[in-house]
């Protein structure tokens, strides 16, 4: 049974999977310059529109892993060995002030750190896979991911120790490839768990696994991006850290993007007002916020439009308040989208696996475990008119916030609207040090 599914799925899934992309990367491709496009190019198309990507892209991406075959999941001694070690988490201070040396030895040091630490992180991830219940782990998509991680692990682990700049260059290319080929991890994880959720008895187990997997992926992505950027001497940037990050600009660009999506779907879109500490700017790595802000705006927009669809008064705007103190950045996203009952509020933080009606339909193209009332995350679809998704936006955002010493809370007033409070720690905080 699994065998046939395995053969069928990769082909039928790839169009679907390619579309379930990280929205952030699409809109980023609008707004950032050419240089960064290749780093964050999650789905291979740089133009923001969605189209079916032919299956061959998948094989092309994996080609540098093609020379490795995983013969056994069981005996992976290197993995076991490294999984026992602790990974070293860097503080942004270390990253920022690693200093630029004339002989580019800072690149060497950075590469050496990654060379040592990335295999450990991947080993931990593989370990998590190995501890999944057997039936869950045998899901073909999860197996594929598992196998891919092992391949990546070996590629990274077997790279010789870096002593010269040429080696460093090669290593950087390897890292770049790693990023590209693991760009569809999120959809695979989502779909894989969705299929096998009926076998999982405890909700918290899934949440813990996914929280760890996603935050670890975020950290690895940020570290690799940072390293790659160290070579490019962008103004105002130290690696991936933007020294004068302005929350207002990010909110404005996210709002523009989400408005487009919303208009395409509903024909209308509410305005976004920004208040609070609008002129604040500080050093920050924008990667996590690039995901969180559009997701939250999407929810707010969707709620607003659906609640006021038939009213002639026009759409109330969504207000984003920026507040910064020494330790954290707080964004309060206020909408007038009618709020949610308590039952829905509880569910919104799940990776949508506690749904009451189990989907017995193996045709996993039906995203609809949740009806339209659920304030899901919007993931752009091709031509289906439903706003639907994996239900990952809110729980993932929360995992990211907590990883950055922050939190994500939602207060809702039934019949009126909801306020989402996004808190993330600042890189320069002394009391709550952020470690990647």
């Amino acid at each position: 049974m699994f065998g046939t599914k395995l053969r069928r799925l990769p082909l039928s899934f790839s169009p679907v999977i390619r579309q379930q992309t990280n929205i952030a990367s699409d809109f980023k491709n609008h707004n950032q310059d050419e240089q960064t496009k290749k780093i964050t190019n999650e789905n291979g198309n740089g133009n923001g529109t969605n189209r079916c990507i032919p299956p061959t892209e998948k094989t092309i991406r994996d080609k540098h892993l093609a020379n490795i075959t995983v013969t056994s999941f069981y005996s992976q001694t290197a993995v076991e060995e490294l999984a026992r070690k602790q990974s070293t988490r860097l503080t942004p201070l270390t990253m920022m002030y690693i200093g630029k040396t004339k002989d580019s030895s800072h690149l060497l040091r950075s590469a050496q750190y990654l060379h040592k630490d990335l295999p450990i992180r991947f080993a931990h991830r593989i370990d998590d896979f190995r501890n999944l219940p057997f039936i869950v782990a045998c899901n073909p998509l999860l197996l594929e991911l598992h196998e891919r991680f092992i391949k990546i692990f070996h590629t990274l682990n077997s790279f010789p120790s870096i002593k010269t700049l040429e080696q460093e260059k090669a290593y950087t290319e390897l890292l770049q490839n790693t990023l590209t080929c693991s760009s569809d991890t999120l959809p695979l994880l989502a779909e894989g768990f969705r299929e096998s959720k009926r076998h999982i008895k405890q909700e918290t187990f899934v949440r813990n696994f996914l929280d760890r997997a996603l935050t670890s992926r975020l950290a690895i992505k940020m570290l690799i991006e940072h390293h790659i950027e160290l070579r490019n001497d962008r103004e105002n940037y130290i690696g991936a850290i933007c020294m004068s990050f302005s929350p207002k600009k990010l909110i404005q660009s996210s709002a523009e993007y989400v408005k487009k999506v919303c208009r395409a779907e509903y024909g209308v879109a509410p305005d976004v007002k920004i208040d609070g500490h609008v002129h604040s700017s500080f050093p920050y790595i924008t990667t996590p916020l690039n995901y969180i802000i559009p997701e939250m705006l999407k929810n707010a927009f969707r709620a607003t439009v659906e609640h006021h669809r038939y009213s002639d008064l026009g759409l109330p705007s969504v207000t984003v308040t920026i507040a910064v103190n020494e330790d954290e950045l707080v964004l309060r996203i206020k909408d007038r989208g009618g709020g949610m009952p308590r039952a829905l509020l509880d569910k919104i933080f799940d990776y949508h696996f506690s749904s009451n009606h189990l989907s017995h339909d193996p045709s996993l193209l039906s995203y609809t475990d949740f009806d339209n009332h659920f304030h899901d995350q919007l993931v752009t679809t091709d031509n289906t008119n439903r706003m639907s998704g994996y239900g990952f936006g809110v729980p993932t955002s929360r995992a990211y916030c907590e990883y950055l010493n922050g939190s994500l809370t939602i207060e809702t007033m039934h019949g009126l609207g909801s306020d989402v409070y996004v808190r993330v720690g600042l890189l320069t905080s002394e009391n709550r040090v952020v470690r990647l």
Binding site: G276, N325, R332, G339, R342, M413
Partner: protein, 414 residues
Amino acid sequence: MSFYRYLSSTIKATTNVHSQAPALSGIVKQLSKFSSHDELIEYSQRPIEYCYPNRMIEACSPHHSTPIDLMKTAIDLHEQLLVRLAHCLTHFQSIPFLPGVNPTLLSLHERYLKLFETFAHFPQIKTKEDEKKFLELINIFVVQNNDVIGLLSTGCSEAQKHFKTYKIMKDFLDNVLQIRLSMRLLAEHYLELHKQQKDNSSEWRGAICMNFSPIKAIQQCVNDVSSLCFETYTVVPHVQIENTMNESLPYFPSIIEYILRELLKNSMRAIVECSKASLGNVQNVKQYFEENRDKPLCQIVIASNPIDENFTIAVKDQGGGIDESDEEIFKYMFTGDVMKEEEEEVHMDILADFQERMTQSSKQMYGYGFGLPVCRLYAKFFGGSLTLRQVSRIGVDAYLRLGFIHTNSERIKI
């Protein structure tokens, strides 16, 4: 030594002992009466019988088959209070000795003990005269205990360092305040029922107002706190109220008024002090408030959620926020930046003028740091919650959720 001399010396010795003895045994005597009390033990071992508001509403309904029998209500209340006072006293008895002998806390303990004894020795209510006497007793009970929160806060602030851990003090305060609230509600309910015997209005069923409209109560609270704010600071921030809850519902008005007043006091104080700090002097602040009437610094939003059987009142202010974690803010005794006030207090003769300060505390904008924890306790009591969401350096959003009392889900018990 001659025998006579020996005798005189021993007599002297014993008289010395005697002259010391009264001083010692006075305190010992005073405190040992708290040690054991049979009746108290018996009552404290009985479980509390909870009353459900929806049943209370039904029982007091003019359409009910059996009209309210005040005598029976009095007998029930008598029993209820005995059991609850006993439980309350056990909480006093279980705090460590040293904080327990703090004069304020001890006097409160003693008051409750006396009350218990009065109720215990009150004869069985059989005639109308008995019931009348009982009514008087309850009246005294309610009036006398208006200052309990103030007393507890003074006592605890004095004895704070003697509580080994914060948790002991917190549990003690939570328990005592909870029982006090329930006793108060029941007593007031009984008193109101008596008054309504003559009135016969259908708007009230005992202490429950059937047509309670949150917006009206909140408007009143805003007015009250505004005048208090004006008296204290000579400026008042404008408050905007947005109400989407047009229906009225049965509720205990005193609860909402209490909590809203506390929240508004906090918000207004924060707004005024924050504005003062950034604008310099009061004149500028006044001008600023006037100019910004359309962009209010304090907003109240009311919404009802019939699906989850509760309603929410959100108080959002732009008072600069509090740079402390949630846990800290909700601690008893946390008062924010009131440095000057504390210094003054040290020099005052506390015992001598606590009475004055008790009555003053309701007229003060801030005080002992009991506002938030008590409000949260009350909100929980009514099947709800009080959550504070901070927007750093800008303000605080307080969300008060209270459960409906008239529904059959019986989640709230008194």
